[in-house]
Amino acid sequence: MARVLGTSIKRREDPALITGRGKYTDDLQAAGMAHAAIVRSPYAHARIRGIDTSAAEALPGVLAVLTARDVAAAGIPGVVPVGWLLPDLKTPAHPMIAADTVRHVGDAVAVVVAEDRYLARDAAERVAVDYEPLDAVADVVAALEDGAPAVHEDAPGNVAFDWEIGDRESVDAAFASAAHTVELDLRNNRLIPHAIEPRAVLASYDSSTGEMTIHMTSQNPHVHRLLMTLASLGMPEHKVRIVAPEVGGGFGSKIHHYADEAIVGLCSMKLDRPVKWTATRTETNLTDAHGRDHSTHCELALDADGRITGLRVDTAAAMGAYLSTFAPAVPTYLYGTLMSGQYDIPAIHCHVTGVFTHTAPVDAYRGAGRPEATYVVERLMHLAGEATGLGPVEVRRRNFVPPDAFPYQTQVALAYDSGNYGPAMDRALEMIGYDDLKTEQASRRGNGGKLIGIGFSSYIEACGLAPSAVVGSLGAQAGQWESADVRVHPTASVTVYTGSSSHGQGHETTFSQIVADKLGIDPEAVEVIHGDTDLVQFGMGTYGSRSAAVGGSAIVKSVEKIIEKGKKIAAHLLEASAEDLEYEDGSFRVAGSPDRALALGDVALQAYLAHNYPDDLEPGLSATSFYDPANFTYPFGTHVCVVEVDTETGSIELLRYAAVDDVGNVINPMIVDGQLHGGLAQGIGQALWENAVYDDSGQLVSGSLMDYAVPKIHNLIPFELDRTTTPCPHNPLGVKGVGEAGAIASPAAVVNAVVDALAPFGISHIDMPLTPEKVWRAVNS
């Protein structure tokens, strides 16, 4: 049988989705279903003097209007918790419904439940909230200034945490003796995730059983169940079932536990009816956890040969009004730990201040900390190439961790298991035709026309947070393993129950490929079940590019257990010794006797009949595994972007984008390419267009798609992709993550390209997004 691992079989998910037959949360209908509309603060910061719900309640068809008072009366915990604790982290309360103070535009103050969603919205407009507006601060730097309005009384100076990693003294020494230093003040722009499907929930409480089923847009249903029951609704965990039906993208925004989903659950409990809520795009933009929003000062020290001797980073990272689920981990353990990049850096220090602001919370968004780290390191490397005269290629090469140095212990905790950075750079240069481009660039510089620039980004990422004991010691309130239950049916078809919950990544296709390959059966004979806490044993979900490396490995473990058990059954049937059996192409064979073989189906059937069966073996042919990885996986690569800049208007046109990525062994090349395409679109989007802008009063002025520019297909160009393959040494598939690579690498590549184009103007930096006006002003200043 031909191998199916490494082949681009078509996504089995697609026919239903692209013909409109996918069932998303908002498509679901329940008998007696009512609809919720959430009343949200129009102010970034205000005291609630009173709420008059009478006009809303008076509308025929309105079933309930609930406020913080009802949460208190329900006797439930009623809060939204944070799931990652840092030392001395300030954890001010985040009530499900604001009681006396609102802290960002969009903060929930009441909920209306009505017979239809139009009526619910009409009634929500009739809820009269008496606000006393207070001063607000939305900017991460302004929030740290003396006298800035306080977001929480119990977080003085708006500081949520003060965190550092690395060795400050050795860095100081490196700078004291450096031959070259470069430095940069930069902003990493705040982004709104913009999953195409807004968050939605259908909560169905049944008072006759005390059970509640919640269909919702979730990347990790079991984690949502845990947080929902423990901290918000106070229900027994086993009485709640969470189902993630089709989920239309998340990019991290559907990892987090939000107030809204808990509020709808409470409504269903109060009314003993199913209640649905689907965010409008406006609500999504106001309340989904945003991404990035850093202000950073960074410096790099190099010796006379252009070797890096020290890196110093100081970052203020916005947390928003409340600590979202994994928020404290993102600018710390997913950011400071990545500061070594692909380079052998002997001294690194990174200091991060987490800052409360009167804005939507900030949490993991595609890449989560690693794009921000890559942006710092790769922007500095560009400047280092200029300062040393080595140029962007040689300065990187000279500092790459050499291939014989792995495993490589960085100065910022992570130990890279494997890597081979030179070949990816070589291939990228070859694809892009670097020498010819340099010639063209030089010739254009004299003639007054449009300028071209070439930008590099040699990135590292760490995906699949691991192992559980380590992340636990760093403050995670969750394990980082994954589970897989693989069941071989009597007819030798297979069902896989995975704790990794897909929201567009193609798990059903790739996981079926893993099982089909290992068992030597047709992928069509494998069903993959995910996203349902009643069907699937506990699982951690999908985020941090972990599903193939962690979820896939758990599946392999289960399949290996099945083969071992199958060998015992086959040995019994073939009257051979289990040690003499081997499994290949869907058959158990006695080694050296090719005619003594049994197909998987023969063994599976006997496993369930148990008529002719070993005495010491339990019937059945299934296995459950919990796989806890030994380490992160470390994908890497080099991306090259070529841009053309119209200096008369400041407009930037993408000319080329070449990406060479090393994601280890590849299960489905088409899906890997697709993940890269999506990540690149978002990373390029961050560099050129996307920007969540709050004004000084804390109003989100880029709150609609009329103002917030997500990249459209006509804004992008065909990407030129290739790969090198350095398998992960510590997981059974040799796979690494790929979901975030594009978003991690590309912002620096684009900005470096634009800055390279504008070198004749003496421009060394422009903050993202590189809008035409910013570029034009830089050129003319």
């Binding site: 139009y118 407009e125 409008t280 406006t282 920007n691 880029s702 520019a709 035409p772 006006e773 034009w776």
Partner: protein
């Protein structure tokens, strides 16, 4: 994104639509619905009654007679962009319509709805002003026409009266020796024009005999640039640049993507480029 309660009435004729307008105070006419419906879904517009005129065939179509092209108000952007009549007589009109939104928007959105809404970033108004189009309105008391240059009054404000329906626009055909062009600097989020420059020049025996430039997106209404200095010249790049630099807007509009100053600057650059493109097509 759920509109407030409203009543829906569908008109079977222009006369019926006019009657419904009389009957229902604060009613709104809906053609393709691509301006009104988004406003209603955001509850920025809450008309008690929506009068659907979208099926009035009498307001659809493009025809040429006597050196002028008549475009019915319910003609879609897609039909305008693909019109052979406009391609022959007013190609810049078709060119601009092809820049509106995306294919779905162009298939539903109508010229009447577009100009009655009068978004400053719309692609059509500067072209109509450039071409000297007239906008025709009908009310129970009769019909009247307004020059496009007078029709657009202020931000989202036009000369359409509360009892009137916009029935069609008449656009004079461009003469021989005339080249025209529409260049758009697109907003990356909305797709509207940050700047849209519509230009036309007529060349006879190597000399410019007429020139026009109207820029949208910079002011609340289309900004006409005095490019009469080009008449009599050979339309050199320098002459064109000097003429386009005459763009002036007293109170340019701005947003988080592009400030007023920047829009004026881009207006000059795009005006120059549009004039040069028109010259090259003349």
């Amino acid at each position: 994104m759920y509109p407030a309660q409203f009543d829906y009435r569908r008109a079977g004729s222009v006369d019926e639509a006019l009657g419904l307008l009389q009957e229902h105070e604060d009613a709104k006419l809906m053609a393709g619905g691509h301006s009104l419906i988004p406003m209603m879904k955001l509850r920025l517009a809450q008309p008690p009654v929506v009068i659907d005129i979208g099926r009035l065939d009498e307001l659809k179509g493009i025809s040429e007679a006597g050196g002028s092209v008549r475009v019915g108000s319910l003609t879609t952007h897609a039909d305008i962009a693909a019109s052979d009549v406009l391609a022959a007589h007013c190609p810049v009109f078709a060119e601009a319509a092809g820049h509106i939104g995306d294919a779905q928007v162009r298939n539903r959105g109508t010229i009447g709805g577009n100009i009655a809404h009068a978004d400053p970033g719309s692609d059509i108004p500067p072209v109509l002003v450039l071409l000297g189009a007239s906008v025709h309105l009908q009310s129970p008391s009769g019909t009247r026409s307004v020059a496009a240059g007078d029709f657009f009054q202020d931000l989202l404000m036009t000369d359409v009266g509360e009892d009137e329906i916009l029935t069609h626009v008449d656009v004079p055909a461009l003469g021989s020796g005339t080249g025209s062009a529409y260049l758009k600097f697109e907003h990356p989020a909305s797709g509207y024009a940050v700047v849209g420059a519509a230009a036309a020049v007529t060349v006879q025996d190597g000399r410019c005999t007429a020139a026009g430039l109207v820029v949208g997106g910079v002011g609340a209404v289309p900004t006409t640039v005095d490019v009469s200095s080009l008449v009599g010249t050979d339309l050199s790049d320098d002459a064109i640049a000097a003429a386009a630099s005459g763009l002036d807007a007293e109170d340019p509009i701005g947003d988080i993507f592009a400030s007023g100053d920047y829009r004026v600057h881009v207006g000059k650059v795009y005006g120059k480029r549009a004039l040069a493109a028109a010259r090259d097509r003349a």
